[in-house]
């Protein structure tokens, strides 16, 4: 299997390099075909060799495989919408070539994070995602994209440097107990013998640093700028793929320390970060007029829910994973549609939108179904996950905590639905120009993503649920 891993990364790198040098637009997009096939094949091989430790540094565990599959699903619509975006914007060939290569790099490096068994290697791949993601954010080559890319790149690098400090502190703790490896499976056995002080320091540094990837307090602000300025397909990949990668990275630290005495302390940190993120979302939603930032803040909300679920013990672990899987599909569909919305109005300002159902019925239906799903209204799966999160909160924490979270979620629900319904149903004023009529077939991929979500919501797949439950079965009850 090690050969397949090497082949995957080497071929991905070769495809990246070829993409950079191929300046023919169609040929550039055709190069995605071998990459997507390669990624699917690799994903399939990972499932076959599930649980196997590969060359000490890699492991295919269920949590990683679940999120790798999500990336495998998202990659096809992302490529299609990237092509549409570049055609509509008439991007330069050189920029398209760099963009395509960076997208391949992003997918490969996210996959690397998901299969890393060594915390140092995980860090390397995380840093690699920062590098390629910032190139993707810089796609439009203007002052705003430069600002967003610089902020994302710089703050992510600083954040990850802090996470690296956390890994080094764990190394010191390991050294004190004569353990040398920073392998996640090994750490689950050795960390109970390590000094809790070092472990707490490590976890704190790690979660602060990686918060930039997950998009929660404290470093979420650069993530908002990035999702706002980056092309919509990139925003979809950041919300649907990279956010999960951030969650898995935090989860790796959590599962390494979960058998130690610091577990209750870690849970407190997680819930504090989750609640603080929700508070920030509520505050910012009051004044936002930009519909892309609105979606970015919605991602912060869902990342916070996942983090809160993680702090709720065994029932919460399963819910956190399930929540993020379906959030990825829904949010990506909405991000793709938001790209079309921008083409209709040529502005991101909510005040200059409205009557979207009249202007683009196919797209508006996607937006409506997406909003219903993302707001957690039945039959959306997110309704179930949010319900189970709140249920486990009442079991795990004092009632004040879940009640406070409910209040915040109600506020978010009200503020988001107000803006969403304004876009869909508000009468179109005469002074608002309409620039483009979108063709219905451009929304097909979004319908497919939403159909998956509703189908699972209406007919819960027992095998899928069991698989996700099994993925967190090794954690303490």
């Amino acid at each position: 299997m090690l050969e397949i891993v090497i082949i995957y990364f080497v071929l991905s790198f070769i495809i990246m390099c070829v993409m950079v040098f191929v300046r023919h637009t169609l040929a550039g997009y055709l190069l995605y075909v071998p990459f997507v096939l390669l990624h699917w094949y690799f994903n399939y091989q990972c499932f076959i060799h599930e649980g196997t430790l590969i060359g000490q540094y890699l492991r295919f565990d269920k949590v990683g495989l679940i999120f790798m599959t999500v990336i495998s699903i998202l990659i096809v619509p992302t490529v299609i919408h990237t092509a549409l975006y570049s055609i509509n914007r008439r991007s330069k060939k050189r920029i398209i070539a760099i963009h395509n290569a960076s997208m391949v790099g992003l997918v490969a490096s996210m996959t690397g994070v998901l299969i890393s068994e060594h915390l140092g290697l995980l860090w390397c791949f995380l840093e690699a995602t920062t590098i390629v993601a910032s190139i993707l954010i810089y796609h439009d080559r203007n002052s705003h994209s430069l600002e967003a890319a610089w902020k994302y790149f710089f703050v992510s690098s600083i954040g990850l440097a802090l996470a690296y400090a956390g890994i080094l502190l764990l190394g010191i703790a390991a050294q004190e107990t004569n353990e040398t490896g920073l392998y996640i499976t090994e750490l689950q056995k050795t960390t109970p013998h390590m000094s809790p002080m070092w472990l707490k320091s490590c976890f704190l540094f790690a979660i602060i640093g990686i918060s930039v990837k997950l998009g929660v307090v404290p470093l979420f602000t650069v993530d908002i700028d990035a999702k706002d300025i980056a092309p919509s397909p990139v925003g979809a990949m950041l919300s649907g793929g990279l956010m999960n990668v951030g969650f898995v990275s935090i989860f790796r630290f959590y599962e390494s320390f979960v058998f130690t005495s610091i577990k209750p302390w870690m849970d407190k940190i997680l819930i504090i970060i989750g609640i603080a993120s929700l508070i920030f979302v509520v505050i910012y939603l009051f004044k936002i007029k930009n519909f892309k930032r609105l979606l970015a803040y919605s991602s912060v909300e869902h990342a916070a829910i996942a983090i809160i679920a993680l702090s709720c013990g065994h029932a919460g672990y399963f819910v956190a994973v399930l929540h993020l899987v379906f959030h990825s599909l829904i949010k990506s569909a909405i991000f793709f549609q938001i790209g079309q919305l921008y083409r209709v109005y040529l502005t991101k300002n909510l005040d200059f939108t409205g009557a979207y159902f009249k202007l683009n019925p196919a797209g508006a239906l996607v937006l409506f179904l997406g909003f219903v799903s993302i707001l957690g209204i039945p039959p959306s799966v997110l309704f179930l996950t949010e319900y189970y999160t709140l249920k486990s909160l009442f079991i795990s924490w004092h009632w004040v905590v879940p009640v406070g979270i409910i209040v915040l979620l109600v506020y978010i629900f009200a503020l988001l639905s107000k803006d969403f319904f304004h876009i869909l149903f508000a009468p179109l004023r005469s002074n608002i120009p309409v620039f483009e009529i979108i063709k219905p077939y451009e929304s097909i991929t979004q319908y497919i993503l939403l159909c998956i979500v509703f189908w699972v919501g209406l007919h819960p797949n027992i095998e899928l649920v069991e698989y996700i439950k099994m993925s967190v079965a090794h954690l303490p009850k």
Partner: protein, 221 residues
């Protein structure tokens, strides 16, 4: 001998926090790279060719030569010679760095003695680690301070590199090394990061009149 190099390293931090010229920052970084090489060399218990080559590559070549030269190139190309708006008088900067050293020392001291038993004998055992820890934490905090308080983008890159040097020292305090393949990955990532930061800085010159952080505040809610 190692302690002498670490003290010299700390002195470069004091110089960095007070410097006003970009060239001074670059010289300090180059000296830090050389000092890190000296520290690692004096700590090396066994001399393996692969280890020595990697350390040489990471400290002397990368931190001591390539990165300072690249920053020098950026400085010349973009005509950034001064960090024109020093935030405070030098006196306050000295005050800040002194506080950083004190905080770092206390952290190092507290973390290395046994909390549960308060064993004093462990202190002697860990003196060496405390020195490393103090220097590395000081470097990390100094890097963060430079990033927070300085206005030029190039100075922010310098701050990031000082922070990275601090992390390198922390990895020395760790004693047991990370596998070489992971060290190579980390080195490659940092090299790419510095290169890309430079690319963004060059682009900023084309878009904004002055390459300062205050130009990058357009995106708001």
């Amino acid at each position: 001998m190692t302690n002498l190099f670490i003290i010299l390293y700390c002195m470069t931090l004091i110089y960095l926090i007070n410097a006003g010229r970009v060239l001074s920052y670059i010289y300090s970084l180059a000296i830090q790279g050389i000092l890190l090489f000296a520290i690692v060399l004096s700590e090396l218990k066994e001399m393996h060719l692969i280890n020595l080559t990697f350390i040489l590559l990471e400290t002397l070549i990368f931190k001591g030569i390539i990165v300072p030269y690249y920053l020098y190139y950026l400085m010349k190309k973009n005509n950034i010679f001064y960090e024109r708006e020093p935030d405070q008088l030098n006196f306050y900067s000295l005050f800040k760095i002194a506080i950083i050293f004190i905080i770092s020392f206390f952290f190092g001291y507290e973390l290395h003695i046994n909390f549960e038993t308060g064993n004093a004998y462990r202190l002697q055992q860990h003196t060496h680690e405390i020195i490393y820890f103090t220097a590395s934490l000081s470097s990390i905090l100094t890097g963060l301070l430079i990033i927070m308080r300085r206005k030029k983008i190039i100075t922010h890159i310098v701050g990031y590199l000082v922070l990275e040097n601090g992390l390198f020292m922390l990895s020395l305090a760790m004693g047991t090394e990370l596998p070489i393949i992971i060290n190579m990955g980390i080195l490659f990532d940092i090299l790419t990061t510095v290169f890309l930061l430079g690319v963004f800085l060059n682009r900023a010159k084309g878009i904004f009149k002055a390459i300062e952080i205050r130009n990058l505040t357009e995106l708001k809610d």
